[in-house]
Symmetry: C2
Subunit: 340 residues, 2 copies
DNA sequence: TTGTAAGCGTTATCAT
DNA sequence: ATGATAACGCTTACAA
């Protein structure tokens, strides 16, 4: 606690010559018609003079509310989650709530007890993009360790039945696949994220669904971890495998696309003339690469905002419906007509 | 608070047939020689059965400690801060502390009242890379809003006299400048971050100091915001300015170097054959670019760890000394011998 | 070895 | 319109 000698509401009361209850009412903003304007002002002045700050722990203890939500993310380094946080924090702030970030250790293995590690007192949990097995420890009956829970970017059909706020990733993949097909590509390799999370399973399924209908399409898949080096190696394999070379690499993320670009450069392939490369996420990295990435823009802030709104409704006893947010294809320089 | 019906220590006591005090002692781990092993086990069993979780607010209120430190950063999106967090959280965890992240709004303007917005109860503050004017609201006498404060990557001579944990950025710049000079470069343009923070002022001074001694060196400076597009434009200006073209761009960050690479590509300059480009930070981006960046690796995790250690010492009434952590030049493909 | 009781600072329910 | 007063759940002297 920060109150190591700081003034308490009692001190304010004494200074203002009123009771503690009056101070609470005035400073809590619920004094209309219960305290005279004159005393109210006296109280505010005294509080200001003393530099009074309410003790959050005491308030929390009394009200049973911490005014804080926990946002569990698999990785801080990823720009996507920073944007989710921004959106969630904005909505939270409008309701007098704060958001505390908890990077789930390693993203691998069950996230055991986020509520012990993130020490702050918590009213509810927003869990984003959790790996399938990380869900085991959490989420029974829409609550996490007894706390109300909303899942972001996660399997809506997962056991536990917590409300979910999702992105239309399947549709995003569909848009991208059609973009590539329209450019004449038929030999398309899916550079897939090798992570057991809902979003990647959906992407794989969507790629398959979209390309399986095309009669002359030759679809392949390579898997790799979510980093540039791994993607570079996987792309290299894809581009040097026996048989006709793919003319397009459809990557599960901008980071992977960055690795694909490097592999292409290594092999002396010009992008997009000899090879098209597509990303997913639309991170700022997408604009930093050369050529800039054709990718799918994910409204991360809106995911955070919608998720927080849902959690607040949950805390108010409501039952928010799960939803899916639209995504948008962004065409830049890394894709072009199929060669030949 | 999360305790809307959850079991309290009283419930545990009742279930175990002991008093609340005994429960507290056992679960608090301070029962050696005060409670028999048998009763201790009974208590632990009862707590386990009931799924008891201590009420953090109540504990906090009683002990006067929240067990939480606030880490204020100017931007979540930047990998550097994620790494600082990781280091800080690791050290904190060893001492039963948690770390709460607070992204200072916009990084611009005075950070007013981080302690109201980040609602959690806080014992101390770790502030990283704050803009000079953002310090105004904080940090009088080594405390922030009455809380113990440690500054990371900030001016050690700033008023307020909070302990600082810094990186040897001046030395990093020096290493880089010498690297470029050793490669024969003499026309070097400093692509400087246009942000009023300690670290960038130090970098500018170090570049000037290191290059001013070289008789035939032709040093220039361009400034830009900390993003790829701005850096691209600034680098373009630098490379097309009247007079002999620089043979090397010494950039204040990897992000800026990414922009420089794009400008070079636009102008048909091959890197590093026609132009050398250097970064700073060694983000994962440095390895994603092509060519990979010669840069300076910053031990961000260690900054966080050292900062947290200093804060803990401060909380224990000690007075930690300020320090500077070494940095290391990492030579990759984006720098090479000066042309001609 | 264990229990009793006080109190942390706040809010909310009653009286006045 | 304002003031006593009782909780909230926990830790920690102190008593037994």
């Amino acid at each position: 606690m920060r109150n190591g000698g700081g003034p308490t509401s009692r001190d304010v009361a004494r200074a203002a010559g009123v009771s503690q209850a009056t101070v609470s009412l005035v400073l809590g903003g619920k004094w209309r018609g219960r305290v005279s304007e004159r005393t109210a002002q006296t109280v505010r002045d005294a509080a200001g003079d003393l530099g009074y700050r309410p003790n959050l722990a005491a308030r929390s203890l009394r009200t049973g509310r911490a005014g804080t939500a926990l946002l569990v993310v698999p990785a801080l380094t990823h720009e996507y989650f920073a944007r989710v946080y921004t959106g969630a924090a904005a909505v939270a702030a409008e309701h007098g709530f704060g958001v505390v970030l908890y990077p789930s250790p390693a993203g691998v293995g069950p996230a055991r007890d986020p509520f012990g590690s993130a020490r702050a007192a918590i009213d509810g949990v927003l869990a984003s993009s959790m790996a399938a097995d990380a869900l085991a420890g959490i989420g029974d009956g829409g609550r996490a360790g007894g706390l109300p829970l909303v899942m972001l970017d996660s399997d809506p059909a997962a056991p536990g039945g917590a409300p979910t706020v999702n992105l239309a990733v399947a549709d995003g993949i569909r848009q991208m696949a059609r973009h590539l097909l329209a450019l004449g590509h038929r030999r398309i390799t899916h550079v897939a994220g090798d992570v057991d999370a809902w979003t990647f399973r959906v992407r794989a399924r969507a790629v398959a669904a979209e390309l399986s209908d095309v009669p002359d399409a030759l679809t392949r898949t390579v898997r790799c971890a979510l980093d540039v080096q791994a993607a570079r190696e996987a792309s290299f394999r894809a581009l040097t495998a026996p048989g006709p070379r793919p003319t397009a690499l459809l990557c599960d993320g901008d980071l992977l696309a960055a690795g694909a670009l490097k592999a292409a450069r290594t092999l002396g392939l010009r992008v997009p003339r000899d090879l098209s490369v597509s990303g997913f996420d639309d991170l700022s990295l997408a604009g930093a690469l050369d050529p800039e990435l054709t990718t799918v823009r994910l409204p991360a802030e809106e995911v955070g905002a919608a998720g927080m709104a849902a959690l607040l409704r949950l805390l108010d006893g409501g039952r928010p419906e799960s939803g899916e947010l639209p995504v948008r294809l962004v065409v830049r320089g890394s894709t072009g007509p199929a060669p030949g």
